[in-house]
Amino acid sequence: MFDLLPHLLNGLTLGLLFALIALGFMLIVGLMEQINLAHGSLFALGAYVAMQLTGPRPPLPAELAKAWLALPLGWRYAATLVIAPVIVSLVGMLIELCMRRTYGKDPLYGLLLTFGAAMVIEEMIRLVWGTRDYVLQVPSAINGGFLFGDLIWSTYRFYAAGISAGVIGLVWLLIEKTSFGATVKAGAHDSEIVRALGINLSRLRLLVFVFGTMLAAIAGIIVAPIWGIRPHMGVDAVIPAFLVIVLGGVGSFWGAVVAGLLAGLCVGLAGAYASEWSLLSMYILLVAVVTFRARGLWGKKSVLEA
């Protein structure tokens, strides 16, 4: 049993990371009914922008760069955690503006557009930063390891899990406890009525997309020190994000969170006890769930089950 506990804890922390990665993806699918295949590329872009800002050559005028670099890494990192998602959100804004012409049409158009955007962003990353790998510097306070239960654990991993839980909580508050969240949900449910109430639906959709993009960028920044930064890192993110929202049920906030945790537990436990099945285990979990419940764990009933 004592052998098992570390792996359960590891699975839960990994699950929180999966949930964080899926959060922005889930919001855009759930609230806009658009599958954003550029989610992974925006995730990668967040990591790259953060790396550029915290690195030795920030893209700033000489004097400003000098002042910025004079700040302790902890301050720069904290500021980057806010600034980088804002910068990446401009790209998200551009994608949403392009997507407007696809609303109300065959969903395939939106899929193709975001798929194209993903490829453009990835190639742009290659052009700007090349194909080499980068490391995102993090403050020493959240780096290194600590001893717990006779094992060395990664401090950063627990920090990342904590941040993930915090962001998930904040997003829940925003969606469930604010008038903005209520309006967004109403817009997703019945756009005509919302428009008739005088609410600018276009602006609302833009805000949701931008918010989803910022969450993708935050996930990229948080996960980068564990996975490393490389041009195709977005592909590694979009696959678990897709799996988590399908497993949890499309549009379900808590479904995505629980699905993330379940996927993390599966991967963590399989990694320890049947290592060759570790990545495959979450796909087996997905197949097992959708075989008996096509809508996912907390999804709404759909034509799949009619």
Binding site: D3, P6, H7, N10, G11, T13, L14, L17, G130, T131, R132, D133, Y134, V135, N143, G144, G145, L151, I152, W153, S154, Y156, R157, P225, I226, W227, G228, R230, P231, H232, D236, V267, G268, L269, A270, G271, A272, S275, E276, S278, L279, L280
Partner: protein, 414 residues
């Protein structure tokens, strides 16, 4: 009517056995099967830089047999199916008569199958599964990198004697990982050590925490990894963060330079390589300068083992064509099978030779660790030993490799 029949005959005829292109001053066209994306995308492009440098050098001297050398390249995406498709297209539609390039052994094996079908020579520059020169060898394929067995032979016995007998294996779950770990297991057990467990790592694993916890629980003396590409980079980050790089000891079978360059701070353990840009040998500094001139503003400032293997394999291929005085595939194969290169010419510590039984280049194998006192920001390795080819040779490979007789190889000419 006769001409119609003749034309039809040559179109539908037995072209596998007689695949001849028009002779003359037309360029010799090479197909470069280098990854540009996927797990080995970064390394694939470094491979390409070395290959291109060798082609440019020979063209600057007037080409081969008075003919310029051209090339086409396409991303094999670190995917065997794509590698196979690219190879097929290069041979049948682009008229490439020689293929060069590989990192991933699964991709290399897929390309080998296509190349063997058409009799096209294939230079496997950088994939290092022992099976590439063993059960998956081919008369048309030549393997230029050291393989998992070579590196294990150079490192394991000493580590069992000096560090400890209890070992764990961490193995990428594909052909290179399996064959390399199998070689390590053999070496460990024959040196009196014991394998506690073999943890299989699926390709594209980014989070190694479960594995690292398991390793800590098992408390081995040594962990031997056969993990490559992006996976080893992620593993290195996580081991370094936990400061697990001291105990247990780590033997990382091979560290390709492009994998190291992106994250040098996480370099740990002892690892193998075939070349280093600061080897104190004649010609190395000049080669580095030439490479830098050819790759200005590249993502990596110095050549590493991957670019070196790309360069050496292409250079030796082009020299073999020159010596053969022909672009006939069998004549070139025979030249390559008899290849011997002096240590000076290879910029290594020992003379190297092509094993005619396995088609693997037998060369010096270096063991390295992170350099604690670098001379500059590229001086990341400290070379701690060099093993001569015969001591690191994969003795089992000749028994596993069955080469097709020459007369059963389809004829190819440029």
């Amino acid at each position: 009517m006769a001409s119609v029949i003749g034309g039809t005959g040559s179109f539908f005829g037995p072209w596998r056995e007689n695949h001849a292109w028009a002779q003359g001053a037309k360029p010799i066209k090479l197909g470069l099967t280098c990854d540009a994306s996927g797990q080995y995308g970064n390394s694939g492009q470094d491979d390409f830089r070395g290959i291109k440098m060798a082609i440019d050098e020979i063209n600057a001297k007037g080409g081969v047999l008075g003919r310029q050398v051209t090339f086409i390249t396409a991303d094999t995406e670190t995917t065997p199916a794509t590698g196979s498709r690219v190879a097929e297209r290069f041979i049948t539609r682009e008229d490439c008569t020689i293929l060069i390039g590989a990192l991933h052994s699964g991709v290399a094996n897929a390309i080998t199958q296509v190349a063997s079908k058409y009799g096209v020579i294939y230079m496997n520059t950088n994939s290092s599964a022992p099976s590439e020169a063993g059960e998956n060898c081919s008369r048309v394929k030549f393997v230029w990198d050291g393989n998992g067995t070579n590196f294990s032979k150079a490192s394991v016995k000493n580590a069992v004697d000096s560090i400890g007998k209890n070992w764990m294996l961490l193995t990428n779950d594909y052909v290179w990982g399996h064959t390399t770990s199998a070689a390590t297991r053999t070496q460990v057990e024959s040196a009196g050590g014991k394998i506690l467990d073999n943890l299989l790592v699926p390709q594209n694993t980014r989070d190694f925490t479960a594995y690292l916890l398991k390793i800590q629980q098992a408390k081995p003396d040594v962990v031997a990894t056969a993990v490559g590409g992006d996976d080893i980079k992620a593993l290195r980050e996580q081991v370094a963060q936990l400061k697990l790089d001291g105990k247990p000891a780590w033997i990382n079978n091979q560290q390709d330079w492009p994998d190291v360059w992106g994250a040098p701070d996480s370099l740990f353990g002892v690892f193998g390589t075939t070349w280093y840009h600061k080897l104190p040998l004649p010609g190395v500094a000049e080669f580095v300068k030439k490479w830098q001139a050819a790759n200005k503003d590249g993502p990596i400032p110095v050549p590493g083992n991957v670019s070196y293997n790309g360069y050496m394999s292409t250079r030796e291929l082009l020299r073999a064509i020159e010596r053969a005085g022909s672009t006939n595939n069998v004549k070139i194969i025979k030249e390559l099978e008899n290849l011997k290169v002096s240590a000076t010419d290879r910029m290594q510590h020992f003379d190297a030779y092509m094993d005619p039984m396995t088609h693997q280049m037998q060369q010096a194998i270096y063991l390295a660790r992170r350099n604690a006192k670098p001379a500059d920001n590229t001086d990341l390795f400290e070379i701690i030993s060099w093993t001569e080819p015969k001591s690191a040779a994969d003795d089992a490979a000749p028994g596993k490799c069955k080469l097709t007789p020459y007369d059963q190889v389809p004829t190819v000419d440029s």
